[in-house]
């Protein structure tokens, strides 16, 4: 088939940031990240004493899925903290480029676990989260 290595697509961009609960850093929280392009891939990390965490970018080779499809990768981060589970991030990445979640800038977030889930749409990708980051949402197209 002659498929090259350039079939690399980004399922979840590198993310760093701080988690808080009621304004206080959530130290040693366990973050479980799940991405799904054609199958679930899970990894996890732990926040430090300042609530700071990092996830490396997650790539996949479309090669593994044989042939292509309209790009749509689901993204999820659950935070386990103080005996509770918080759905911190749940979205669908609709473009394969890295840092599409923040329009090309590094994805640096601030997440408040006690806040209400908010939906924004960036690069056609819906993201439900407890986080804020520096990004301009898509302009609303009023079709209906």
């Amino acid at each position: 088939m002659g498929l090259s290595d350039t079939g690399k697509v980004c399922l979840f961009s590198k993310m760093s940031g701080v988690i808080k609960l009621n304004g206080k850093p959530a130290a040693n929280a366990r973050l479980v990240r799940t991405v799904n392009h054609n199958k679930d891939i899970t990894d996890e990390t732990t926040s430090d004493e300042n609530g700071y965490f990092e996830f490396d970018a997650k790539f996949t080779h479309s090669l593994t899925s044989m042939l292509p499809q309209e790009f749509a990768a689901s993204q999820k981060i659950n935070v386990h903290y103080d005996g509770k589970t918080y759905e911190m991030w749940s979205g669908v990445k609709r473009v394969p480029e890295e840092n599409s979640e923040s329009r090309g800038k590094p994805l640096v977030v601030e997440c408040e676990l006690s806040s209400e889930e908010k939906l924004i749409k960036v690069n056609r990708s819906p993201i439900f989260s407890l986080c804020t980051w520096d990004v301009e949402p898509d302009k609303k197209r009023k079709v209906f």
């Binding site: 088939m1 002659g2 498929l3 090259s4 350039t6 079939g7 690399k8 697509v9 799904n36 054609n38 479309s62 090669l63 899925s65 044989m66 042939l67 292509p68 499809q69 309209e70 790009f71 749509a72 990768a73 689901s74 999820k76 749940s90 979205g91 669908v92 609709r94 473009v95 394969p96 939906l119 749409k121 056609r124 990708s125 819906p126 439900f128 197209r141 079709v143 209906f144």
Partner: protein
């Protein structure tokens, strides 16, 4: 008419990819409400699931689409929404494309048909729900393989329930043989079918003859895109959204592909032209095959094709008819020769051929070669798509 406009149908065809990938129905509902306003409910707290998989194997059930029930200003209307999958490519590049019977008893692509059939039970129970909602308008919408499924669904609605839906597709492959396309065109009506495609989207170019697009006559919605070579990105829904933005169907119908009539097809067959398979060559070739077949069959029904049985590929059947045409009909031989030479030219073969050389074996060799090259071309185009990580 109560049809969706191009941007509405495109937004739905695009959003189905996000909706099926969101991890809860609640979030899918929230997203839809945020995008469209409070006009749809998702039926039954479940997504439409279908069996997917390429030729020869069936994968587990995956989310394939949604049934949306309209409310408020959309009351009385429903949308049956399908998405494409990565398995489309497997089906489209399979050498031995087989057909099976649609709900209306016409021949359609067996792979697409199987995908649809795996959702039929769910759709049947949705029909029961619809009756309770006094539904007067049904919209079937899809992109890529989802467009093929929406087409099959529209046929199913009409032949099984006598319902007359609207059908919208973006970058759909060809779904069925001529009998199916013709039946759809008359039973649903060309004015209720909105088939939009980019010039350089490879998917609508395949499968090649004997598959036909629906509608066979009336309007389709050709959208110009740059170049001659199919480009990855012009199959993507993002490009379709851009191409139809703020336009009406009427405005889009003004953008015409180069017109192909008997005179221009005859002209194309006779001229040397460029070597190599291009989107344009595929389009002309499709029409030229039909043109020469008509010369060979003189109005005989295409339906005859099915009587050949499953041991013949379509290209074998075509060789048979062309050879017969040479031997039986005066005047057909020269057109068959033009066609064979044109195909050989496109394939880069030496074309010093005479009518006397045209026996079944020879023609079959050329046509099989063509089929292989088209499949290779499709695979190449699709892997370019792959490199971009986009679409199909």
């Amino acid at each position: 008419m109560n049809n969706l406009n191009p941007s509405q149908a495109a937004a739905l065809a695009d959003d189905v990819y996000s909706l099926t990938k969101l991890d809860s129905l609640k979030r899918a509902m929230t997203y839809m409400k945020d995008e469209y306003g409070d006009i749809f409910d998702i039926w039954s707290n479940d997504v439409l699931k279908g069996k997917t998989g390429g030729p020869g194997f069936i994968k587990c059930r995956t989310a394939f689409g949604f049934c949306l029930i309209g409310k408020n200003q959309f009351a009385g209307q429903v949308v049956i929404l399908f998405r494409g999958t990565q398995y489309l490519a497997d089906w489209l590049t399979n050498l031995n494309v087989s057909v099976s019977s649609s709900s209306s008893g016409r021949s359609i692509h067996d792979g697409f048909n199987k995908s649809f059939k795996s959702m039929e039970t769910q759709l049947m129970s949705f029909m029961g729900v619809m009756n309770k909602h006094n539904v007067h308008t049904i919209h079937c919408v899809g992109h890529s393989l989802g467009g093929a499924l929406a087409t099959i669904c529209a046929d199913w609605l009409k032949s099984t329930y006598g319902r007359l839906p609207f059908l919208y597709s973006y970058g759909s492959p060809r779904v069925g043989l001529h009998s199916f396309a013709r039946h759809m065109t008359s039973s649903i009506g060309a004015d209720r079918i909105f088939r939009a495609y980019h010039k350089t989207d490879i998917v609508p170019c395949i499968p090649i003859w004997p598959f036909y697009h629906t509608p066979v006559s009336g309007t389709d919605y050709y959208l110009p895109s740059p170049g001659m070579i199919p480009m990855a990105k012009y199959h993507g829904m993002d490009k379709y959204i851009d191409s139809v933005e703020d336009k009406t169907w009427e405005e889009l119908s003004g953008l015409r592909a180069e017109s192909k009539n008997d005179t221009s097809i005859a002209q194309w067959l006779k001229e040397k032209g460029a070597v190599g398979v291009t989107v344009s060559a595929l389009g002309w070739l499709h029409q030229a095959i039909i043109f020469v077949l008509k010369k060979c069959m003189q109005g005989a029904e295409w339906l005859a094709l099915r009587t050949f049985g499953n041991n013949f590929t379509f290209m074998d059947q075509l060789s048979y008819i062309l050879t017969k045409g040479i031997n039986v009909l005066e005047g057909a031989a020269s057109w068959v020769l033009y066609l064979v030479k044109k195909i050989m030219h496109i394939l880069g073969m030496i074309t010093s051929v005479k009518v006397e050389d045209l026996n079944l074996q020879f023609i079959r060799g050329v046509l099989r070669n063509l089929q292989e090259r088209v499949n290779q071309f499709t695979r190449d185009a699709l892997s370019k798509v792959l490199v971009d990580g986009r679409a199909v």
